[in-house]
C-alpha cells in the first residue's frame, strides 16, 4: 500500500511557541487514521498543515507523494504560488469543528459552490451531484435550507457533503463532533462510518474513542507536539504502553 500522507520531522511554531516538534508518521491509502491527544497537543495544527492552511517550519510533508506547499528543485525549496496551493487543496477535503458552512447559501448551494467555481462543472450537473451527496448524508429534504435553519448535526453533514463534492482522495476531519450536542453526534459518526466503508482515506482528529476503536485502522496519541504512541486503535486504547497515554485515557474513557 502506498502512503497517502507522509510526515518527516514536521515542525511548526507560532512565534516563540513550538506546537509541533518533529512529527513522523504515515497514513496509508484507504485507511482511517485517528489522531487523539489532550487539547494543545498539536493534533489540529498538524491536520491543518496537511492541506497547507498552516505553513510548516521544518521537515517534509507529502500528500500522495507530492510535497505540500513547496516544490523541490535540486536541494532548493521553492514556495508554491497561491494558485498551485489551491490546486493541491482540490483533492483534500476538510471538515471543521465549527462546520464553517457558507451562511448566505442554501445547503445545496454550499455543496455546489466549489465544483462550479473551481472545476467549472455546469450548474445543472452540480445540482444533480449535490442532490446525490445530500441524499447520501441523509439530508435530501434539506437542500433548500440555509445553514441557520439546520441543527448542528445537520450542518456538519452538509459540510461533509460539501467536501465530498470535490471528489477528494483524502478527507481531513478536525474534531467534527466536538461542537455538537451529544444526541446529534451519532448521525455525523454514522456518515463518517459509511465513508470509511466506501474506502476513503481519512485522517480524523477526535475525542470519540468509541469511533476510533470501531472504525479506526491506525491511531496516534500526541502530546506536547510529539507522537507519544501509535499503533492499532484497539491495542493502544485497551492496553496503552506509555504512561502519558495511560493518564490521558484514564481521564477520557
Amino acid at each position: 500500500m502506498t502512503a497517502m500522507v507522509k510526515a518527516e520531522g514536521v515542525h511548526k511554531s507560532f512565534g516563540a511557541v513550538q506546537v509541533l516538534k518533529g512529527i513522523d508518521l504515515e497514513v496509508k491509502s484507504g485507511e482511517v487514521f485517528c489522531l487523539i491527544g489532550p487539547s494543545g497537543s498539536g493534533k489540529s495544527t498538524f491536520l491543518r498543515c496537511i492541506n497547507h492552511l498552516e505553513k510548516i517550519n521544518a521537515g517534509r510533508l507529502y500528500v500522495d507523494g507530492e510535497l505540500v506547499g513547496y516544490r523541490q528543485k535540486g536541494d532548493k525549496l521553492y514556495e508554491l504560488k497561491d494558485s498551485e496551493v489551491a490546486q493541491q487543496r482540490r483533492d483534500i477535503g476538510m471538515v471543521f469543528q465549527r462546520f464553517n458552512l457558507f451562511p448566505h447559501m442554501t445547503a445545496a448551494e454550499n455543496v455546489m459552490e466549489a465544483p462550479i467555481q473551481v472545476k467549472g462543472v455546469s450548474k445543472a450537473q452540480a445540482r444533480e451531484r449535490a442532490r446525490e451527496l445530500l441524499d447520501r448524508v441523509g439530508l435530501a429534504d434539506k437542500a433548500g435550507n440555509y445553514p441557520s435553519q439546520l441543527s448542528g448535526g445537520q450542518q456538519q453533514r452538509v459540510a461533509i457533503a460539501r467536501a465530498l463534492a470535490m471528489d477528494p482522495k483524502l478527507m481531513l476531519f478536525d474534531e467534527p463532533t466536538s461542537a455538537l450536542d451529544p444526541e446529534l453526534v451519532g448521525d455525523v459518526l454514522d456518515v463518517m462510518r459509511d465513508l470509511a466503508e466506501s474506502g476513503m482515506t481519512m485522517v480524523v482528529v477526535t475525542h470519540e474513542m468509541g469511533f476510533a476503536r470501531e472504525v479506526g485502522d491506525s491511531l496516534v496519541f500526541m502530546d506536547g507536539g510529539v507522537v507519544v504512541e501509535s499503533g492499532d486503535p484497539r491495542e493502544v486504547l485497551t492496553n496503552p504502553q506509555h504512561e502519558r497515554t495511560q493518564a490521558f485515557l484514564s481521564k477520557v474513557l
Partner: protein, 319 residues
C-alpha cells in the same frame, strides 16, 4: 439517519394529543386586573400639550406666509436645486464607495506601502472638516493656476475647478475615507473560518473574496452605507460655500429677493425630508436582501405587514 432525528418530535405530538383527548381539562386562562400605569397617562398628556403649543405657535404666527411655502415647493428653480442636490450626492457617493473599497483593500493588503498610503489618506480626510476640504478644492487655483498633467491634459485651473468639480471632489474624497473604514470593518467581520473553508475547497483568493467574503461583508457594510448616503444628502448643503447651485442655495436666493427667508428654508426642509425618507425605505429593502441566511425568518416588508393585518382582521370577524 435523519429519520431518527426527525421522527422524535413527530412521535411526540400524537402521544400528547391522545392525553388531551383522554379528558385532561385545558388550563383556565388567568383573568387578572392589569396594573394601572397612571404615570404613563400623565406624561402622555404633558407631551401632547407641549406638541400642541408648538404646532399652534407655527400655525398662527402672522409673520409666516404659509402660502409662499406652497407656492415655491414646486417652483422650477427649487426643483432644479433639489435635482442638483440629488445629483451631487449620488455622484459623490459613487466616488466614495469605489475609492473606499480600493482604500479598504489597500489597508488590508500585506504590502506595507499601500497599507501605509491608505492609512495616511484616511487620517487626513477624516481628520479635517469637509467644509475646509471644499474650500481647499475651490481655491486650488491660487497655488496651481494651471493644471498640467504632462502630455495628457493642460488647462487653466479655474476652468477645471468649477463649482461642480470642487463640490464633487470635496464631498467624494471625504466620503471615501469614511467608506474605507466601513468596508474594512465589514471585511474583517467575516469569520476567518469562512476563508479557511473556501481555501480548503481549493478556491482562489479572488474567488473567496468575491463569492464568500464580500457577500457576507455586505450585511455589515450596507446599513452604515445607507446612513452615509442620507448624511451625504444633507452634508451636500455645505457646497453652498463653493457656489454650486444646489437646493439650499436655490431656495436661499429666492428667499433673499422675496423676503421670505424662513419660508424658503421650510421649502428646503420639505425637499430634504422627502429625499431622505425615500432613501430610508429603499435602504430597508436592501438590508432585508443581504440578511438572507443570517436570519431564520426575514422581517416582513411593510406591505406584507399590512396584508397580514388585513387577513388577521378578516379571520377574526369570521369567527
Amino acid at each position: 439517519m435523519t429519520d431518527k432525528f426527525d421522527k422524535e418530535p413527530a412521535d411526540a405530538t400524537p402521544s400528547a394529543a391522545v392525553s388531551k383527548e383522554g379528558g385532561a381539562l385545558p388550563p383556565e386562562a388567568i383573568k387578572a386586573i392589569p396594573v394601572r400605569h397612571y404615570g404613563r397617562w400623565v406624561s402622555g398628556v404633558v407631551v401632547l400639550a407641549l406638541v400642541a403649543l408648538l404646532v399652534n405657535a407655527f400655525a398662527t404666527a402672522e409673520k409666516i406666509q404659509w402660502n409662499a411655502v406652497g407656492e415655491y415647493v414646486f417652483d422650477s428653480t427649487v426643483l432644479a436645486g433639489a435635482g442638483r442636490t440629488l445629483l451631487i450626492s449620488v455622484l459623490a457617493m459613487v466616488m466614495g464607495v469605489v475609492l473606499g473599497v480600493v482604500l479598504a483593500v489597500m489597508r488590508l493588503s500585506k504590502n506595507p506601502v499601500t497599507s501605509w498610503v491608505a492609512w495616511v489618506y484616511i487620517w487626513f480626510f477624516r481628520g479635517t472638516p469637509v467644509y475646509v476640504q471644499l474650500l481647499l478644492w475651490f481655491n486650488l487655483a491660487l497655488i496651481f493656476p494651471v493644471l498640467n498633467l504632462g502630455p495628457i491634459y493642460k488647462d487653466e485651473m479655474v476652468d477645471v475647478m468649477t463649482p461642480f468639480m470642487a463640490a464633487l471632489l470635496g464631498l467624494g474624497l471625504n466620503e471615501a475615507a469614511y467608506m474605507a473604514e466601513i468596508c474594512r470593518a465589514g471585511l474583517m467581520a467575516v469569520d476567518e473560518g469562512q476563508t479557511e473553508a473556501s481555501h480548503a475547497l481549493g478556491m482562489s483568493h479572488a474567488k473567496t473574496l468575491r463569492r464568500i467574503v464580500i457577500p457576507q461583508a455586505m450585511r455589515v457594510i450596507v446599513p452604515p452605507t445607507g446612513n452615509e448616503f442620507i448624511n451625504m444628502l444633507k452634508t451636500s448643503s455645505l457646497v453652498y460655500a463653493v457656489t454650486y447651485n444646489e437646493l439650499l442655495r436655490a431656495t436661499s436666493t429666492i428667499g433673499s429677493t422675496s423676503y421670505a427667508v424662513m419660508e424658503m428654508l421650510f421649502v428646503a426642509c420639505i425637499w430634504y425630508l422627502v429625499m431622505t425618507s425615500v432613501f430610508s425605505v429603499f435602504q430597508y429593502y436592501l438590508e432585508r436582501r443581504y440578511a438572507r441566511g443570517s436570519l431564520r425568518q426575514l422581517p416582513p416588508t411593510p406591505w406584507q405587514k399590512i396584508k397580514a393585518n388585513m387577513l388577521g382582521l378578516g379571520s377574526e370577524r369570521g369567527k
